[in-house]
Amino acid sequence: MIEMKNVYFSYNGKEALSNISFKMQEEFVAIMGPNGSGKTTLIKLVMGLLEPEKGEIKVFGEEPKKVMEYIGYMPQRDAIARHFPIRVRDIVLMGIHKKKFYARKDIEKARETLKAVGLDLWNELFSELSGGMQQRVLFARALVKEPRLIILDEPFNAVDLPSREKMLEILKEKRKEGIPIVVVVHNINPILHEIDKVLLLNRRMIAYGNPKEALNEQNLKKAYGSDVQIIVCDEGYCHPLIGDTHA
């Protein structure tokens, strides 16, 4: 349902992505790589927010721009304005913004989605919530439109443990329902056992596949440019110990 063939992209002549090719079906895929490796650029290409310089991208067999409405997207929290008193309800309802006026069922749906992500909030100010709660509100906004594809950019960044657990629980449910999920992460460890595939990126594709195979010392060194300490757990997953946090 997402297919990239030999995709290239650059910002003002500076190469951001080079020769990216991969396919994903109804799977849970994590995109991982160091700062500036092109992770966010890659998902923007998938959503049709950027046009590739070369190559072809198909989402559900169509040009990305044609399927925007099927995607539930959660951007990085840092990219969001928090300097004015916007309420939780206003944000979740943005997920169904195409309607000029909200019907009672839209309001109910938004409230139910908030409850599903573990938040019994409605009129509270977004700026007064904790980082984890803010992430969950944005997550609810991505879910309220009942997307056919979920794309999350750093959803677990600066998130408390209960929020992370709740979000993961929902992602697992969506995965069971056959909804494909793409998650950009810096720290893959919280989701390593849940994902179907990992895409290791550093401007070019270092590895793509089952996390047990794709995440190894050699590939991590290629992606991060130096040795990355790892711990291999009982289930055989290679957990990278990356102290890198998002810029």
Partner: protein, 258 residues
């Protein structure tokens, strides 16, 4: 019986409060306060140019020139990745044009200075009709597109991903703010339009607990400031616009969270 000029000042007060509420609040949400200063001073250049053209037989209301130049700043800002830099450059360019034409129109220059300082008591019926028309136009656009404007102010990237034409709505939003600035200028002048559009909304933003409250509080703060300015100007020989701007900015300092 109230004098006509007082009635006009009161009507202007209501129109200014509406503009301070709608355009001022979105200026704060979109975080482009410098746009007001840029648009207001560019509007001066537009007026000066149209007054200059009048001398050569092309008689068009200078306010049209003011709107064209103010919108030019808004559009050039919304095209730029560094909005404040684009506004600053347009501001400098427009002021150069303004000074150039003011030097050419000599005996008519006082009309441009009128726009620089403004005066609530010197408004004509024609001015009020023009301000009311522009304000109605602004209200309609904000009522129709408030959701889009809010989304692009809160999360432009997310808005794009949700199918909103962010560039188009940014052009529209900044242009409406620029037009609102011209409405303000007619009454309080280019210098104080900045204070009257930004300060009430900024003060309201510090206290409000919802978007609607920002609109309500900023309208209230603007009304109280302008009304107080008018009252004081009756008691003392001072400019009502200046007093209004001092009150409006004082509200911000009083409400500001440290």
């Amino acid at each position: 019986m109230l004098d006509e000029y007082i009635i006009r000042a009161i009507v202007a007060l209501i129109l200014l409060a509406v503009n301070a509420s709608i355009a001022g609040s979105f200026t704060i949400f979109k975080n482009v306060p410098f746009l007001i200063a840029g648009s207001a001073h560019s509007a001066l250049a537009g007026s000066a140019l149209f007054i200059f053209l009048e001398m050569y037989g092309l008689s068009i209301n200078p306010i049209i020139g003011a709107i064209i130049f103010a919108v030019f700043v808004a559009i050039s800002a919304s095209f730029s990745k560094q909005m404040n830099v684009a506004i600053g450059i347009s501001f400098a360019f427009s002021m150069s044009i303004a000074v150039l034409f003011i030097s050419l129109i000599k005996e008519q220059a006082s009309r441009v200075w009128g726009l620089l300082f403004g005066d609530l008591f010197l408004l004509t019926n024609h001015d009020i009709i023009l301000m009311a028309t522009m304000t109605t136009f602004i209200i309609i656009f904000f009522l129709v597109f408030h959701k889009e404007f809010l989304f692009i102010s809160f999360d432009p990237e997310g808005a794009m991903a949700y199918g909103i034409k962010v560039k188009y709505f940014t052009h529209l939003l900044l242009s409406l703010i620029a037009i609102s600035t011209v409405v303000m200028m007619k009454a309080v002048g280019a210098i104080l339009a900045y204070a009257m559009l930004i300060a009430p909304a900024a003060a309201a933003n510090e206290k409000a607990k919802s978007i609607l409250q920002v609109f309500g509080f900023s309208a209230l703060i603007a009304s109280v400031s302008i009304f107080s300015g008018i009252i004081i100007s009756f008691l003392l020989p001072v400019s009502p616009s200046a007093m209004s701007a001092i009150f409006a900015t004082s509200f911000y300092f009083a409400f500001r969270k440290f």
